[in-house]
């Protein structure tokens, strides 16, 4: 017969008490894990929203800053082509370069080393603006000549650098007088607007000149006021005249892709907003 020394059992009461305590502790742990998991998911959504509106503000700031308004010999030209509270059509700058050869009839060549841009110019999609110097001793009578690009190729520059970007452009009487070193800007007409897709609102952009479909840039944004654009004159007053615009106030209201629930509140999308005032650097001073 085995001895019972060292073998102690539990009474029914002890087991019931310990089970009750274990259930309470397990319940508390589960509640804690559940809340932590929910908070974690909410944080991910919040980070996504903040990241989305921040990226959108950076991109739009980059786009708007180089725009010109109130320019040209008459002072009535503007890169802002159509102004709306949640949509804008404008001539976006896509590159900058310098002529490496004298301009010919309907043909210019940009030095590869001097060219800066996200991509090379594309025929049909882009246009080029060339700096036309007036009185060499005056900084006030110079102008930019805008021409369409009908062809893009490669051509050697005289100084032996790698082949330049050869552009076939529309005819102009002043073109042939332009010397090497003349600055050239590459532009593309784009539309920026709030649009709906898959039951959500997005900040979208499309190339008008290339007749592209709209593509999402950031989002989702709030339906009613996800993107607000306010156009301000030099005096800081709202204006609807493109040539008078000197700055753009941008307001983005982002919301998360999924609803989040924190505490006892009913689930709703996480939201965040960002506003920025962007001065057009090439507007008339």
């Amino acid at each position: 017969m085995l001895g019972t020394h060292g073998r102690q059992g539990f009474t029914l009461a002890e087991i019931m008490v310990s089970t009750a305590i274990m259930l309470i502790v397990a319940g508390a742990v589960y509640q804690s894990l559940f809340l932590t998991g929910r908070l974690s998911r909410a944080q991910v959504q919040q980070v996504d929203v903040q990241s989305s509106v921040r990226s959108a503000a950076l991109i739009l700031g980059h786009e708007f800053r180089s725009l010109g308004a109130g320019v040209g010999s008459s002072g009535s030209e503007s890169d802002l082509l159509s102004l709306g509270p949640s949509a804008l059509v404008y001539r976006a700058e896509r590159g900058f370069g310098l002529l490496c050869l004298p301009a010919g009839a309907g043909r210019i060549t940009l030095g590869r080393a001097s060219f800066a841009g996200h991509r090379d110019p594309q025929p049909g999609r882009d246009s080029v603006s060339l700096f036309v110097e007036g009185d060499p001793a005056s900084a006030n009578d110079d102008n930019w000549l805008a021409l369409g690009i009908s062809g893009v190729g490669a051509r050697s520059c005289a100084n032996g650098e790698s082949p330049g970007i050869d552009l076939s452009v529309g005819p102009s009487p002043v073109l042939e007088g332009l010397p090497p070193g003349t600055p050239a800007r590459i532009h593309e007409t784009v539309e920026l607007r709030l649009y709906r897709s898959e039951n959500r609102s997005w900040l979208g952009m499309r190339s008008v000149s290339a007749q592209e479909n709209i593509q999402p840039l950031a989002g989702p944004l709030r339906d009613a006021d996800g993107l607000r654009l306010e156009y301000l004159s030099g005096a800081g007053l709202p204006t609807g005249i493109a040539a008078e615009v000197r700055s753009i106030r941008l307001s983005l209201q982002g919301q998360s892709d999924r609803a989040v629930q924190v505490g006892a509140r009913a689930g709703e999308p996480a939201a965040d907003s960002l506003s920025a005032l962007i001065t057009l650097r090439n507007a008339k001073r």
């Binding site: 060292g6 010109g68 800066a116 900084a139 110079d142 800007r185």
Partner: protein, 156 residues
């Protein structure tokens, strides 16, 4: 024969396993939350660095137009090498400034601002340009002034 203690080598409790499992779950949750916060922190920092580089480039662009030595600019050859101004460094941002002669009177000021870490590795870079001309000002002295139409250039 003495009574032997019952052998307990085959008996194992679940307390240690349960504790390790609970710690692993809690550690995972904490790490997940930390990761989310860290990503947000990095994203915010990157934006800050980009803005710092952009602001430094913008400020130095206009400052370079005023600081450019007239004599050195007059000696530049159109289409040739540029004249480098002294680099400026502050708050982790290094700004390099160079002036090129494009035509007889037209110049391009190019500024490249890099926000670097303590080891000098670039974190954000911004390049801007300004088209300027030698022009006679009201006092009939020659001054370097931005062209009136679209002087500001984004150099990516």
């Amino acid at each position: 024969m003495p009574n032997a203690e019952p052998c307990r080598s085959g008996e194992r409790g679940v307390a240690l396993g349960a504790a390790v499992f609970a710690l692993a779950v809690m550690g995972g949750l904490v790490a997940g939350n930390f990761m989310t916060g860290w990503l947000e922190h990095q994203s915010g920092r990157n934006t800050l660095f980009a803005v710092q580089a952009a602001e430094a480039a913008e400020a130095e662009l206009w400052e370079a137009a005023a600081a450019a030595p007239r004599g050195a600019l007059a000696a530049l050859v159109p289409g040739g090498a540029g004249h480098q101004l002294e680099a400026v460094s502050f708050n982790g941002v290094m700004v390099q400034r160079e002036i090129f002669r494009l035509t007889e009177r037209l110049f391009l000021i190019r500024v490249r601002a890099s926000r670097t870490d303590a080891g000098g590795t670039p974190l954000a870079i911004r390049s801007l340009g300004l088209l300027v001309k030698f022009a006679a000002d009201s006092a009939s002295a020659v001054a370097l002034v931005p062209v009136a139409q679209r002087p500001w250039v984004q150099l990516y």
